[in-house]
Symmetry: C2
Subunit: 248 residues, 2 copies
């Protein structure tokens, strides 16, 4: 018989638990309101500071939002990737996760999204992708910011076609963190125009593969494009972590 270490359970933790439970179980839906702090305080039988600490925790997790003066009380929010983004960003800044790992993860996610997109795409999806590619083409002459926006839009369409919210959100978060990590280096890139052209060509190729329902091809092209664009920012010693993903 072995005993487990025990940790004292704080009052505010129990409050968090109960409210969280109500939210994940669906008893409280997004948009609905929690009772006011003073009301919660009597319902839970604790002081207001305890209630407030619990609400702070839930607020930090993006589960609720409260606004002073609103007589309807704190609002329950829909699940959002903001908290995920924050924690991943923190991890990335703490050196536990380097650019190599992020890029590796992104190659996996992006590759899979493209594979699924190629297999599941409808005609309407293809039209959407054509439009997105066209915006990118226009973006080349309109400057980097515009092009970048169109690029993001293209990736979002791909992600949407793959029809997996987890994939979409994870990819979004990882893409954001990667860009934050190297944005200063991208700022100073000299040959932006030629870079955009290459990028555009990559996307056109990918689109062709998706059109012909060639999942493996689309996935490989997507991963290769990421590698070509970003590998230079990864320390040379870590690049072997990425190459296994490129084998056909």
């Amino acid at each position: 018989m072995r005993f487990e270490p025990v940790a004292p359970v704080r009052a505010y933790e129990r409050v968090v638990e109960q409210i969280e439970q109500a939210v994940v179980s669906g008893a409280l839906k997004p948009g609905e309101r929690l009772p006011s702090e003073r009301e919660l305080m009597t319902q839970f039988g604790v002081g207001r500071s305890t209630v407030r600490e619990a609400l702070r925790v839930l607020q930090a997790a993006e589960m609720i939002r409260s606004r002073p003066g609103d007589p309807r009380g704190p609002e329950v929010l829909a699940a959002s990737p903001a908290a995920l983004h924050r924690s991943m960003h923190r991890l990335a800044r703490a050196d536990h996760v380097g650019l190599a790992e992020l890029l590796q993860f992104r190659m996996i996610l992006d590759g899979s999204a493209h594979l699924l997109a190629a297999e599941l795409r409808t005609e309407a999806d293809l039209t959407g992708l054509d439009a997105a590619l066209e915006s990118m083409r226009e973006g080349v002459s309109r400057g980097y910011a515009e092009f970048s926006r169109a690029d993001v839009a293209f990736h979002e369409v791909i992600a949407r076609i793959s029809r997996n919210p987890l994939l979409v959100v994870s990819e979004e978060v990882v893409r954001g963190v990667v860009l934050e990590l190297i944005e200063d280096k991208l700022e100073h890139a000299s040959n932006r125009t030629s870079l955009m052209r290459t990028w555009l060509a990559h996307h056109a190729e990918v689109l062709d593969a998706i059109r012909s329902a060639d999942g493996a091809g689309a996935a490989h092209l997507a991963k290769q494009a990421l590698y070509d664009n970003y590998a230079e920012y990864v320390p040379a010693g870590q690049r072997p972590l990425l190459t296994p993903l490129l084998r056909p």
Copy 2:
């Protein structure tokens, strides 16, 4: 000229900002201590409740830990994937993520982890995997709980070999949520022993592929195993979402 909407900045948010800044900038290293709440209160010039709400937020983000009675004050923690784990878990449990999506995501993650493991494994890793497989073999006769634990351990070794914390954490979370969703159905499975045998055979095959550095083979086996084991719980109409991932 357009103006941006402004949001009032709460006092506790500024406190969070300052402490967070000190941690990410490295001015406060893991293991070091923050001043006591009463001391922080005079340093920041705010009330104790404000300090406490700030500390709660930082604690929820796994950046600090405080213990009553410790005269050294709150401890600064090393960045850990725990916060990432929590936020991803919340997202995965959101109602618009069904078993099909979870399984799809898990096939992607598991497949990639196996691929990387096959390419990056060292001799020591192989010994570890052999040991894990052996535990599973013993687990068959020791009952389902024991077997299940050994199975989890095997997957953890695989994930570790792939050397990507993001992959490890994501897989862990998704595996957990999948099990939560179907554990009641697994409880009542009639032919557990034969199920365990099949599972074991699957793992042995995977290990062979990893040993011979056959990344694609290992990935395919892993995905196939997941499909074989769990697809029956996915509504038949959604199974086509999974099959594209199985093509060689």
